[in-house]
Symmetry: C2
Subunit: 305 residues, 2 copies
């Protein structure tokens, strides 16, 4: 039976100022997914993890994404996917995006790479919709393309790859549940013009800073006038996390997606580990369980190892 095993990675959406637009892929953690080609028009989902995710294909993120692939092909084929989730659902580092992206990426390998990366993002968005209730691509795009991506437009889909210098990433995942839909409700439906101007000034400057490999400009651009001021209240000790991370040498950072994970960027691994220590110190006092990852930006996208 034709099959492939692939490793879609966690991703960080928003990247502070780039709400709903910017995102990047992490080197770790990655899910493990084995996709098999079947000779009947069906989709089967098997989970080898203990998160209790639905396995009915029409309710499963990977299942819906695979069905979207099947809808594009004429042959009488189907897919089975075995998933071992390592990226914890609800952590805010693109767990559902990894399932959707990995599924379509694996299916595409089995089909002889008939779809472009942009096609794959479009197909995976159907899966993401099951998890979040809305089509968005700010986790899926970096998961599939790797690196830092900017989703200029969803309809039509327009993904821009943004060059960047070496960046280490420290992520703390407090074991709290924040529903994306609830985090979204906190956002005001309108942005005062002055704040909107500051936000797009920072988005433009962050893109320039990344492409110029100008760490100081990256640092100066990592400010969010839209989501962080309202959403950070959902994350215990957010301000302290940020303050101590910056003091430990982080370039900047903020809420990963809609939280609860918080990420910080650093120039090198030593600093990223110092930031991890600073984060642990803040959270050790809270009584909230947490995990800290130190990793880097994944330039490859979905890995085939």
């Amino acid at each position: 039976m034709k099959q492939t095993t692939i490793y879609p990675s966690a991703t960080v959406a928003n990247m502070v100022c780039g709400f709903d637009v910017l995102g990047f892929a992490l080197e770790e953690p990655c899910d493990k997914m084995t996709v098999r080609l079947l000779n009947e028009k069906t989709v089967r989902v098997v989970h080898h993890d203990s998160y209790g995710l639905p396995t009915q294909p029409e309710k499963n993120v990977a299942g819906v994404a695979l069905q979207a692939v099947l809808n594009q092909v004429k042959e009488n084929i189907g897919f089975e996917v075995e998933i071992t989730k390592v990226i914890k659902p609800g952590s805010g580092i693109g767990s559902s995006a990894a399932s959707a992206a990995g599924a379509v990426y694996g299916a595409n390998i089995l089909l002889g790479n008939i779809f472009s990366k942009t096609d794959l993002v479009r197909l995976a968005m159907f899966g993401e919709e099951v998890a979040s209730g809305a089509q968005h691509a700010d986790n899926i795009a970096p998961c599939i393309f790797g690196g830092v991506t900017l989703v200029r437009s969803l309809h039509p889909l327009d993904v821009v790859e943004v060059d960047f210098p070496e960046l280490q990433v420290t992520v703390i995942h407090p074991q709290l549940e924040i529903k994306t839909s609830e985090a979204r409700k906190l956002l005001k439906p309108e942005v005062p013009l002055g704040n909107a101007v500051k936000q797009w000034a920072n988005v433009g400057a962050l893109v320039a800073g990344l492409m110029k490999h100008d760490y100081e400009l990256i640092t100066r651009s990592l400010h969010d006038y839209v989501a962080e001021p309202v959403r950070s209240a959902l994350i215990p000790r957010f301000d302290e996390l940020k303050k101590h991370s910056l003091e430990a040498g982080a370039l900047g950072g903020g809420i990963s997606g809609s939280g609860p994970s918080v990420f910080m960027l650093s120039k090198n691994a030593n600093t990223a580990h110092r930031v991890a220590d600073a984060m642990r110190k803040v959270y050790n006092e809270t009584g909230v369980d947490f995990h800290v990852h130190v990793t880097t930006i994944n330039r490859k996208g979905v890995k085939e190892k």
Copy 2:
């Protein structure tokens, strides 16, 4: 008497999606300014043009900018400036910014280049304030730095230079008066979040497109959800100008600053001239007097010829 003659150029602020943030310098038109060092603490302004601009130093854009320079130096010196304005006041291509930027640039030459370009932008902003009632830098920054600039922040001032490919510019200046203050009143004080996201997606993508020299991405990013939808009503036949310019091969464009000038970017001079013809054809039917310039982006900033 120590003196210098310099040529500050016209500039285009906003650059469609980059409201209050992006701008670029034009190769032509340029004002001519001669700045002289005086040995008394005073500022004198002489105009060799027929625009009836005030010559009292405290009411003149160049005069106020020169006073701001004097406030930074201890020596008992002063400046006289002779100005021949070529950039018509009120045209929307940075006429007052050129006066302010040219004055401080010339003064700095006479002082032995003691100020950085960012310092000069900061000083020139005092002059611009006289003309527009508010400090802004989206014309002054490109006038002084040349090329395409992004003003990430005004306080503290943070100007980012953005690399770009060859770009030709066609500008039509309909002989109408649009006051910046009135154009500003048309803007809504709040931006719906969905439009704000689209705007910063385009700002980020435009910066990436310019830096990657990706003309197609530049074209796709030149959309404005904030100013153009309300301000274009002040410019007769705006939609037709845009439509026929795009049909003639323009990459995109929009209102220059707060208008009434409209600019279009093209890949090469032939296209820029075709765009000029298309613009003339639209405006020949209106009865409104107009000028059309075909020029390019000025990479140098203020010229010393």
